[in-house]
């Protein structure tokens, strides 16, 4: 089964490169339209500018199909801006920019929760599903999960400074950080284990 990386904007090649090492380049596809989406069995929504990604998703009729697939159990990983796109509720910034959210994760997100570009940082984080060794979280203008709306459905995978930064709801996985930039493939491996 092929794994797709949504290729409308953001850290596309970085995800493709991690996945290619894990499953072989021939099993990774950059997805930019409906046709390409039908060829993959799982999808990564990369980090980038969530307003841009959201606009292009809607414009190119991918939005409704991704949403439907997500509801049917299709595995989706959203990182950074991808987390925002997957959420059910956004903050004031999301509202102001009229960004459409997929609503596949029962959480409320806050954009730019760790500050602007110069406040970007790396930190070791503990993610229980990845084992004991800390994972390097790369945070670039990162969002966070401000509130879990359905505690029965959403599992918190990691917190940093008491902020929720990784969650899972069945087939939907999301991180506030960029696992594709850490040089550690464990998070992608975890996602692949869901596929």
């Amino acid at each position: 089964m092929r794994i797709g990386v949504l290729g409308v904007q953001g850290a596309i090649e970085e995800h493709v490169s991690v996945l290619s090492r894990l499953v072989g380049a021939e099993n990774v596809l950059v997805v930019r339209d409906r046709n390409e989406l039908e060829k993959v069995g799982a999808l990564i929504i990369p980090g980038g500018e969530s307003t841009t990604i959201s606009r292009l998703l809607v414009k190119n009729k991918l939005f409704a199909r991704v949403k439907a697939l997500g509801r049917e159990g299709f595995p989706i990983l959203g990182t950074c801006a991808g987390l925002i796109s997957l959420a059910k509720q956004g903050d004031e910034q999301v509202g102001r920019t009229g960004q459409k959210l997929l609503g596949l994760l029962d959480v409320k997100v806050k954009r730019n929760a760790f500050g602007r570009q110069k406040d970007s940082f790396e930190a070791p984080i503990n993610i229980s599903v990845l084992g004991e060794k800390p994972f390097t979280g790369v945070f670039i203008r990162a969002p966070m999960v401000e509130r879990v709306l359905d505690k029965g459905k959403v599992k918190i995978l990691a917190k940093f400074n008491n902020k929720t930064i990784a969650v899972q709801q069945g087939n939907i996985l999301a991180t506030a950080f960029h696992p594709e930039l850490s040089g550690d493939a464990r998070f992608h491996n975890y996602f692949l284990s869901m596929v």
Binding site: Q9, R32, E49, T51, C80, A81, T97, R116, K118
Partner: protein, 279 residues
Amino acid sequence: MVKHGVVMDVVNAKQARIAEKSGAVAVMALERVPADIRAAGGVARMADPKKIKEIMKVVTIPVMAKCRIGHFAEAQVLEFLGVDMIDESEVLTPADVGGHIDKSKFKTPFVCGARNLGEALRRINEGAAMIRTKGEPGTGDVAEAVRHMKLMNKQIEALRKMTIEELADKANEYGVPLKLVEETRNLGRLPVVNFAAGGIATPADASLMMQMGADGIFVGSGIFKSSNPLKRAKAIVEATTYYDKPEVVAKVSEGLGEAMKGIEAKALPVEKRMQERGI
């Protein structure tokens, strides 16, 4: 993450909102767009902090701002204001004709212009996190951006066939460490994100530059000097993502109204060319 997308020049809050709405990945906060800087003449400097703050307040996407080449005090001001990226730009009048800012001293990432591999690697060695072609700003003529991108690609390609001694000679010629030249050779591309800039005015221009290997696009005067900025901005965003699909570029290019009038870059005398600044 600013990669695969369009950064747009804006001069006020209203334009910044239009840029965000159109799907820009960042805006460049300016006092004037390059075409107006060119027309006004005189010394072009960093924008008024009040203007930059006003733009930072109204958009949720990253805000970049320009400082003069070598003017590290302007860069310090921009860092203090909290802009997301500093463009040490040839569009403004250089403050140091003999050198650039030591960008490694800043926490805020820098983008710099380059016309060839030597310029690009020198800027990266000084700490730039992003490169863009210089092109010829404020002209609406894509020819210089094409020339710079082609040259850079050719020079990177040439590295692949070189022996270690030849690479060392190149490093010497470019004035950068051998390690950086080797890294570029091994990657087959610049080790940082490389955007196209300087003269892009239409969706097809954006597609052209993306097909030549650009990681994204800067549009300066091209959007707000055109007759329908929002429509053109949206079209350029879409053409940048679907750059290799002529059917999409064709569709978004329809009925955009007048593009900026522009000037042919080749017709400019050397002293009027911004690309000659900061080499």
